[in-house]
Subunit: 209 residues, 2 copies
DNA sequence: ATACAATTGTGACCAAAGTCACTGTATAAT
DNA sequence: ATTATACAGTGACTTTGGTCACAATTGTAT
């Protein structure tokens, strides 16, 4: 699908043309790091396909999954970071192979005033990401690990578009800032409750979850 | 101090004039709720003086302090909420008596395109609040309660502009989504370590904290 | 087929935090 | 001055989650 087709309901024609003529398409492989914590943000990624994983990294290197960026979406952090050339507070990793438009940060400011559809897109994106961060805060503050795990699995399944997840307990523990043994135990409990099936490096979510 | 004086370094003259001629000043008392969770956002508060407390409320009514809004600042949530007339996800309470400009949400969109200084102000505000939310997430995910408590006390002191805090253990527990007994014990430990002094409804922070 | 590495399962133990129950203690109300 | 009330202190216990140690299992490489 071409660009104009893909974004015709999101951006006005003039902006679409400008994007097509001036913005380059980048491709990265699954596992590639798009943006490392502490780096200066140089481009705004606008996803054509694939999934980006956005995570927080603490001083000791521990990780916490924040949210996924899907096709036709972008990342709120980069919007606001780039306006003031601030370093990023997060890490962006390709969860699958990803194709994206690398919008140079310089045009951001001008487009915001010039194109109402860009302005709407930016504000909508920020709002959605803010909501997701609040949701993450809710979970950390008010929910227990077993509930967080269930949500994590459902979210992962939604992102992957499949009820079969290719992931190890260790990876889950890392993304949830927990420990492998605890995750293994909680997963085993969910399996006993007939909510899912466990395999090596794979988890099948059942409808009861 | 008049408006023009207060914001002359933030907003351009034309915008300042528009604000002065069209925006009403509201006053609320300490403890008043400006915005309840679930309510539709009708105005953007731009603080003239005083402090607003922004907190998350979970389904069971439990609270978690997110951040404070100080003089000359505004709240990122309302910016993005108002663009789409979404209900708020948070509660805003006056921590002190507060005077603020109640900017009608209708002008937000137009000003964003029309006034570069407004656009900068909005983006800067959003960025700062995003950072604070990430910080909150860090603390919840990676820090223990005693470290969180120290930060909470320092932040409260900064907001109040005093090393003497007028607050009960119960209130602290509520704002940190913890329990009174645990907070009392941690405070007692800090007192034993000569980091602070405890009184009824008051805490004196010492320089060693 | 055998050896190796990565993954998962589990028991025992520990630390952090929440809960329950009850005792003091300071302040406010009468 | 006496009572009532909100606040603070504390021991005992429970739950949750993290850590350690090691066994069992599965998949991969030679």
């Amino acid at each position: 699908m071409n660009l104009a087709e893909k974004f015709k309901n999101i951006f006005e024609p003039e902006l679409l043309q400008l994007i097509e003529s001036s913005v380059s398409i980048s491709t990265v492989r699954e596992g590639d790091v798009i943006l490392e914590a502490g780096q200066i943000v140089r481009i705004i990624p606008l996803l054509l396909n694939g999934i980006l994983k956005i995570a927080r990294i603490d001083d000791s290197g521990k990780e916490l999954l924040l949210y996924y960026v899907h096709s036709n979406e972008s990342c709120a952090m980069t919007f606001t970071c780039c306006m003031q050339q601030y370093p990023s507070e997060i890490r962006a990793v390709a969860e699958t192979d990803v194709e994206f438009l690398a919008i140079p940060i310089g045009v951001m400011d001008e487009w915001l005033s010039r194109f109402p559809t860009w302005k709407s897109f930016v504000m909508r994106t920020i709002r959605n990401r803010l909501d997701e961060l609040l949701d993450t805060i809710d979970q950390l503050a008010f929910q227990k690990l077993d509930e967080r795990l269930v949500r994590y699995l459902k979210e992962k399944s939604r992102a992957a578009g499949s009820s079969l997840l290719n992931i190890s307990h260790e990876e889950i523990a890392t993304e949830m800032a927990s420990s492998r043994e605890v995750i293994s135990r909680l997963l085993k409990k969910l399996e006993n409750d007939k909510k899912l099936l466990l395999y090596r490096n794979q988890i099948r979510l059942l409808k009861e979850l």
